[in-house]
Chain length 326, copies 2
Amino acid sequence: MFEETLTIGQLQQQLESYLQKDAFSGFPEVLQESTSHIMQMKGKRIRPVMLLTACQAFGGDISRAMGPASAMEVYHNFSLVHDDIIDEADIRRGRPTVHKSFGLNKAILTGDAMLLHSFVLLKRGPDDKLSAMLKVFSKATTQVMEGEQYDVNFEDIPEVTEEEYMMMIEFKTSVLLAASLQIGAIIGNASPEDQQRIYDFGLNLGLAFQIKDDYLDAFGDEKSFGKKIGGDILMNKKTYLLITALKQADAETRKKIFDLFEVQDEDKKIAQMLEIFTMLGVNEITFAKMEALYRQSLEALNRLTLDKESKKMLFELAEMVYHRTH
Amino acid sequence: MFEETLTIGQLQQQLESYLQKDAFSGFPEVLQESTSHIMQMKGKRIRPVMLLTACQAFGGDISRAMGPASAMEVYHNFSLVHDDIIDEADIRRGRPTVHKSFGLNKAILTGDAMLLHSFVLLKRGPDDKLSAMLKVFSKATTQVMEGEQYDVNFEDIPEVTEEEYMMMIEFKTSVLLAASLQIGAIIGNASPEDQQRIYDFGLNLGLAFQIKDDYLDAFGDEKSFGKKIGGDILMNKKTYLLITALKQADAETRKKIFDLFEVQDEDKKIAQMLEIFTMLGVNEITFAKMEALYRQSLEALNRLTLDKESKKMLFELAEMVYHRTH
């Protein structure tokens, strides 16, 4: 039997069509509008496309993977709805957030229903894989919530260690990428060893991505980064840069950094913090860290027992994530 | 092999011990305290005990049902945490609610993690029953959210039909009781017919319970009801009583009822609404309705292909729910 391999673009299209037509059958009608509001802020659908790509790479039937792939996207969007409440964010991708448009109560219920629906979608995968998929999905999504709570807690403590920070971003961002890939591999009947490798590929890719996000906020090109430089600095956010700076600094410079937290003049605050970062070599250390993580990610990818073409498609995805401009 | 049948009290004890020792292993540590806060407001654990009783009645291994039983309780408690936010309730069972004690953000995340954990607990049931349990659980919990949203919507519309009201309470209250019983029956290897019967038993029991709750708010004995009479009347809540009154009333009396919505004097408002209810025979109609539903519930129970002893235990549970005093 000859089966054509779909490109990433084609997988994105199939997924989009499934999300439009099938994914929300059985979903509460009273919550459809508020759910569409967030689901239509498209983005790259990176998690479900990763799942489908992994499934296809191992020779799995991608038509059986559409439910689980959508589960990852719906779960991710649920977390955005509730995160936006917690962060008191009014705008996402240029549109009002769900709680801004529909009120707090409806935003809570919309998120709840989406979280629940992600399990309904996961169940649409192959029945003989249900238990394995559910195990990976529950673990990852529990960790995402734990990561979110760490992130909230970090705001109230003066200093965070690098280890604490790495664990937070692993839980909050990376495990869902890793789990998406592993679930695709499960549907494709991958060996436990390959499941672990593809999980590690996703985990390190997610870490590299997150640290690059911190890096670009301070050292990015404003035009291609798409937002104003220094937003994290203004919010005294505990990024990899700040943690590294505090680690590198002597007592006097540490005091300067903590004093800068209180400075009101925005331009002055950003400029002086960037000077300290540069003086301490924070940009080189951070760049080296994210590049090392990305290499680790690609090494795990390379260890997969897959043909060249399949590896190339996964590499293409990694490049999309790591070298995104916005 | 001789196996002793456990009483309802013994099942409650075993469940409580499982909830204390085992149920929250793997649960995010940062959210343990806020979760314990709500889980320790014990109550009767009616849903998990129903699941265990149904499982035992069909000869199932209740030690394999402890995870799914806890799933029902954790799901129920998740819904209380988020409902209390939505209802702006400060007190539950004499203690501050989760959002009151831990803040809005932590209450949202705590609820989310509990909802997610209910699936983790369900998965602890027998693997060969996972797909069937998940189907029943997802459907019921989706309906609960739909019912909750209907309930919120009802506040903003002037009048609700009896059909709309019955659907709301079915979704918001009954389906979770019904699903608890069905999942217990599934673990006990009950036939599809018996699964349907035990589901109907729980569904009608829940409806009878909910209408009785409305009834006691107006016509209950203040001492045994445990709260002040007329709370629903003061809030202009669209109860079965109010809906029946508006249905029975002529144009003049309907106007009187709508005028009463605006009355500020609490004692006067309650007294006059009760007079109208009595004049229209709302108490008899409501009493007859809840008794009819309870009988339907017991008829479904009676049709189960179970021995006398097992039916008696399920009947005992029904009496506990329907004839509760608080």
